[in-house]
Amino acid sequence: MKVHLKIKRFNPEKDSKSWWGEYDVNVDPTDRVLDALHLVKWYQDGTFNVRRSCAHGVCGSDAVRINGQNRLACKVLIQDIVKNDGDTITVEPILGLPVIKDLIVDMEPFFDHYKSVMPYFVNDEALPADGRERLQNIADRERYDQGTKCILCACCTTSCPSFWLNDDYVGPAAVVQAHRFIFDSRDRAAEERLKILNEQMGVWRCRTAFNCTNACPREIPVTQLIGEVKKALATGEIR
């Protein structure tokens, strides 16, 4: 079938502002939006740019705004968003991060926020004397499972009104990552992380708008995890 792609284009070497590129491509209904973007890049205009790698929704490279919603271009099928031959699909860069070129944004500020919450396991206690794994029961393992699914795609953070308002806010993705360690029974740095998240640009910037949860391609209940962090801060208890 034929679809009409309307893609927000910007090349800082040439353009003073962004413009809409319009392209018609022939696709199968079961093709991914990423396949359609490739048809533009490979056969119509090689200067067009999007990041991608895995093409099946696990590497987190191709977060873009498709018809106004943050999605991974490789995880949306044409048939999921288009009804009739010739229908239009709009594709723009995610919002709130500086655009480098076309659909490519600068991910450094996003990763800086991520790094600011100590997104790594901390436990300096002696290792088990038998040289084996630390034990963790199934319920304790389950407690932080949701956050471990995060692929750092930034769909959540770049759909968050609080982040758009002030990009110093660490953003939902960073809170999810902090949650993953705060609620891991083996970890020992929960208090430090909670202190970071209690600061002005921390978790209290969240106004519980749920955009992030709706945007997450890994179906992580982002807002709920943020709520659990807030609760831990409010009650001083990690449960």
Binding site: N11, E13, W42, D45, V58, C59, P119, I138, D145
Partner: protein, 598 residues
């Protein structure tokens, strides 16, 4: 202007192998990781099913059994000294990952939980054993995340979105790498005492593949272009369970949990071929059996695919669950969430209600840069290239021989990434910096100028599509002389077309038009070596199945192949010359070659 950097050690690639090496090397050396993708985008993150280690948490197991399975799985082309290290070190390496915080699934008593996987057995082939450690079906994701997290903690230096184009080797001494900063196309020279290549696979030479768009093997091609050998390139693994037409992988973990293959007649056909392990036979065998069924007209609707059936009803009817036990839908949803989602999203099929159409998909490169067991890259059968290392899928140690067992790649990454990282750090301590040749970047600049100026008539995408079709059709699961001859000649024609390339983007910022074209050139070189090596090997062994030579031929072919460019040129451009082959002996220690049955 070319920019200069100096580090003791440079690691090319931020996947599992690269990060593991970086963590260990950075304990004593000044290290930087140079990677064309953000590390967390690396394809290690897509690995699903598990990582093997004989922990024995579920039932008795031993590293000897793991070693035996690895050797037999590789159809005896495995170097057994290396396989012993793999199986022994695996235990310690997995425990180390747990200590780094990796969220493994747990048993009721809190230990790491394990599941069955193809070709992994107890007591030298007696029955399937639970050896694969896992985090649901996102084990690779958890390994990649955990290693990256530890790299942040340990302040490892990263050059993200820097594309390595060339390895600087002179007088058999490695001096660094040349890279292009994707953000602005500037050329950077990384001067180093030691370099470790961890660039992953190169499955994008095939049409139907589980590999990422970015798996094009550029540093492996660079190695070959510098006159160094590539080992066992004819051995490429076709995984039996790719989603029909798309090639997206549905992990063997599914069969570990009880899923089975079904043909058009509703028959569990693996029972006929491999009576002991059945659907859990190694991948090369399952892929061939699927096509045997298709050839016999028993593909679904007479077409070129079969079903994988995950439905609890089917699993329980055939008693194919772990230990013959019944499974529930709830359990499968918990154990295989991502795999079930792939079928739902990309096929619109709910595997709990309907069987899933699958077809073999090009998956894993057994061959690559030859190394010893400390990751040192080889210049020929015996000598190393001073200061040059490789680890992970791009390397050939060889622990996988002619066919890799599932879950053995992730172990390979951590075991040999770690050993390579340590070895390079030890090497860096006494070593000085070998001088950089003044012209180190010249070949890269010349090739990129040529591509950027390309105003011919051939689009990279069209050449790439032709290459992928040809490799899938002629150098696939079943192979024969005339077809492979066509592939070798075909790649050479594509190389001629590549001269007449057309690029659109003349800019500097994120010029992926030019980079993708360079990647295509790398694929052309690697595909040519793959096809030529396959044509040369006149036997059937592991993943290399020939219709015209159906038996394994130990008398003539129990050796590795080493492929060299046959001319004297050394540069960073697509080669245009013959390939010279040599044989390298296989190391056999504990297990003498036997017939391979399951």
């Amino acid at each position: 202007m070319t920019k200069h950097h100096q580090f003791d050690a440079i690691i090319v690639g931020g996947g599992g192998a690269g990060l593991e090496a970086a963590l260990h090397a950075s304990k004593s050396a000044n290290v930087a990781v140079v990677t064309k993708l953000y590390p967390t985008r690396s394809h290690t993150g897509t690995a699903q099913g598990g990582i093997a280690a004989a922990l024995g948490n579920m039932e008795p197991d031993s590293w000897e059994w793991h070693m035996y399975d690895t050797v037999k799985g590789g159809d005896y082309l495995v170097d057994q000294d290396a396989a012993e290290i793999l199986a022994r070190d695996a235990i310690d390496a997995i425990i180390e990952l747990e200590h780094m915080g990796l969220p493994f699934d747990r048993t009721p008593d809190g230990k790491i939980e394990q599941r069955r996987f193809g070709g992994h057995t107890a007591n030298f082939g007696e029955k399937a054993v639970m050896r694969a450690c896992k985090a649901a079906d996102r084990t690779g994701h958890m390994i990649l995340q955990t290693l990256y997290q530890q790299c942040i903690k340990n302040k490892v230096n990263f050059f993200n979105e820097y594309f390595v184009t060339d390895i600087i080797v002179e007088d058999n001494v490695c001096r660094g790498v040349v890279a292009i900063n994707v953000a602005d196309s500037e050329v950077h020279l990384f001067h180093a005492k030691a370099v470790l290549i961890a660039s992953g696979g190169f499955g994008k030479m095939f049409k139907v593949t589980s590999n990422a768009h970015t798996l094009t093997g550029d540093p492996v091609a660079a190695y070959y272009r510098r006159g160094l050998p590539l080992e066992d390139m004819e051995f490429f693994q076709f995984h039996p369970t790719g989603i029909y037409k798309l090639g997206i992988l549905l992990s063997e973990a599914a069969r570990g949990e009880g899923a089975i293959f079904i043909n058009d007649k509703g028959e569990r056909f693996m029972e006929r071929y491999m009576p002991t392990l059945k659907d859990l036979a190694p991948r090369d065998i399952c892929s061939r059996c699927i096509y045997e069924e298709v050839r016999a007209g028993r593909g679904i609707g007479g077409k070129d695919y079969v079903y994988m059936d995950f439905r609890p009803g089917t699993i329980n009817k055939f008693k194919s669950g772990p230990g013959g036990r019944d499974v529930t839908r709830e359990h499968l949803e918990k154990a295989l969430p991502d795999i079930l989602e792939f079928a739902r999203v990309y096929m619109g099929i709910d595997p709990m209600k309907d069987p899933v159409p699958i077809q073999p998909t090009a998956h894993y490169a057994m061959g690559g840069i030859p190394t010893d067991a400390d990751g040192r890259a080889l210049a020929d059968n015996t000598n190393v290239v001073t200061g040059l290392y490789a680890a992970g899928e791009c390397a050939c140690v060889s622990v996988h021989g002619a066919n890799r067992l599932g879950t053995n790649s992730l172990v390979d990454l951590v075991v040999f990434g770690r050993r390579g990282g340590k070895a390079m750090a030890d090497f860096c301590k006494p070593a000085g910096f070998a001088p950089l040749p003044i012209t180190a970047a010249a070949d890269t600049i010349a090739e990129f100028d040529r591509i950027r100026a390309g105003r011919g008539s051939e689009r990279a995408a069209a050449i790439r599509a032709d290459l992928q079709n040809m490799m899938t059709n002629y150098v696939g699961v079943f192979r024969n002389g005339p077809d492979m001859q066509k592939a070798v000649e075909g790649v050479r024609e594509l190389k001629a077309r590549f001269k007449n390339i057309k690029t659109d983007d003349t800019g500097k910022i994120f010029n992926t038009d030019v980079l993708e074209t360079f990647e295509l050139g790398c694929l052309l070189d690697l595909a040519e070596v793959t096809a030529a090596a396959a044509l040369r090997r006149t036997e059937t062994r592991g993943g290399h199945a020939r219709e015209d030579f159906q038996e394994r031929d130990d008398a003539n072919w129990l050796n590795h192949s080493m492929a060299y460019r046959a001319d004297d040129k050394r540069d960073a451009a697509v080669t245009r010359c013959d390939i010279r082959f040599e044989n390298k002996p296989v190391t056999i220690t504990k297990f003498q070659p036997k017939e391979r049955k399951y």
